[in-house]
Symmetry: C2
Subunit: 227 residues, 2 copies
Amino acid sequence: MKRGRKPSIDAADITRAAIAVADAEGLAAVSMARVAQELGNATMALYRHVKSKDELLALMWDSAMEEPPPLPDGEWRDKLGFWAKAVLTAIRRRPWFLQIPISGPPVGPKNLAWLDSALSALEGTPLGPGEKIGVVMGLSTFVQGEARLSFTLSQGFEENPAQFNHQYGQTLREVVDPREMPSLAAVIEAGVFDLDDVLDVGDIGADFDFGLRLFLEGVAGHIRGRE
Amino acid sequence: MKRGRKPSIDAADITRAAIAVADAEGLAAVSMARVAQELGNATMALYRHVKSKDELLALMWDSAMEEPPPLPDGEWRDKLGFWAKAVLTAIRRRPWFLQIPISGPPVGPKNLAWLDSALSALEGTPLGPGEKIGVVMGLSTFVQGEARLSFTLSQGFEENPAQFNHQYGQTLREVVDPREMPSLAAVIEAGVFDLDDVLDVGDIGADFDFGLRLFLEGVAGHIRGRE
DNA sequence: CCCTTTATGCGTACCTCATACGCAAAACCT
DNA sequence: AGGTTTTGCGTATGAGGTACGCATAAAGGG
C-alpha cells in the first residue's frame, strides 16, 4: 500500500479553489496564499501538489472551459456559427480564461472537445483535414480576439466610464486631423463611434456577428471554389 | 517663467527607456527600478512623471507601433491583405505589444494611423462607414489573435522544445479517444499535427495566410451581395 | 544677493507575492 | 515499536510597486 502521510488535498482541489477565486474576484486575486486560505491549508502546502503558480495557471486553463454544447442540425454554416457563439458565451462566463499566459498547444480534454466539436461541423464538406483545421483555427482566433476585446473594453469601462460612450467619438474628433487621416475622419463624421453601446456586454454584439458572418461567407466561398 | 527645479527627464524619456528594455529583454523585465536604472535616475524619480506602472504601460502601448507603410496600388483586396501582413510584421517586431493589458480604445496617433490606413483600403468599395469599421475590426481582431498565438507558441517552444514538433501529434494520438472525438481523431490520423514547422517564426505562416484569404473572400462575398 | 516659493530628486519603509529550505507530523511497513 | 516515506507548514529571502517626507535645485521678489 502507499506509505506516508495522507494528502489532505490534491492538485484538482487546488485548481478548483483557484478557479473559484478567479470566478469571484478575478485572476489578479489568485495568489498562492489566497488559494491556500480558501482550502484551509497553509500557503506552502500547495507546493506539494503543484510545482509553481505557472503550473497552477496551466491547470486552471485546462479546467476552465465547460463542455461544448451539442451542435444544432443543419448545414455546416449554422453549426459553425452556433459553435462560435457558444465559444464566446463560454469565455464570457470566465473572462479570466483569456488572461492566463498560455504556454503551449491545448492538450486538456475540454479544449480538445471544443476542437472536435468545431471539426464535426465541417464533416459534410469537401474540405481536407488541413483545410478544416485552418478554418477552425481561423475562426477560433477571431472569436477569442473578439472576446478579449469586448472583455478589455468592459473592464476599462468599469474603471473609467467617463471616457466611453459619446466621449469616444468626441475624443476622436479632437485628435484626428482630416488632412492626415481622411478615411478615418470620414468614418468618424458619419457618427460610427458615437454609439452608447460600444460594449453591450449582455448580448452577442453586432461587431462580432458581422465579423463572424464575413468569415463564414469566406469559408463558403472557399468551398464553392473547390467543388 | 516656470518655477521650480528643472525636470531631468519627462514621460517620453521614460517611455522610450521602458520600450528599450522591453525590446531587449521582454516586457517582464520592465520594472520601475530597471527603467530608472536605464535613465540613470532613482526609482522613485519616475513617479514625478508617471502616475503608476499601469500608466507607463499605456504610454508604451501608444508608442510601440511604428508608422503604417503606404499601401500598394491595386484593388481593395490586395491592399487589405498587405495591410494585414504589415500589422503582423510590426507586431512581431515588438511581441510584448500584445502582452500589455490594454485599458481602452485606441487614441494614440500611431494606432489611429493604422486604422486610417486600413479604412483607406476600402475607399473604392460600396461599403458604408459602419461596414468598413466592421470589416477592419474583424480583420484586426484576426491578425492580432494570430500574432498572439504564434508568439505564445514560439515562446513556449523556447522554454520547452521537447513538447513540440512531432511530439504534439503523438501526444494527441495518446490523449484522444476516436470514439469520443471522431472528427478530431480523423484529422490527427491524417497527420496534420505532425509538422515540424508548427511555428515557422520566420515567415508569415500558412495558417495566417489561409485565414486571411478566407476573411477577405468573405468581405468580397459581402460586397458582391450588396451591389 | 538672500529668502521665499515651487517643483523635482530620491532614500526609506511598507506591503504583497512567489518560493527555497528544513523540520515536524502522520501513515505505512516490518 | 522503530524505521521509512510522504505531506504539512513556519520561516526567511528577494523582487517589485509605491506612499511619504525631506533634500535639492530653480525662479522671483525684495
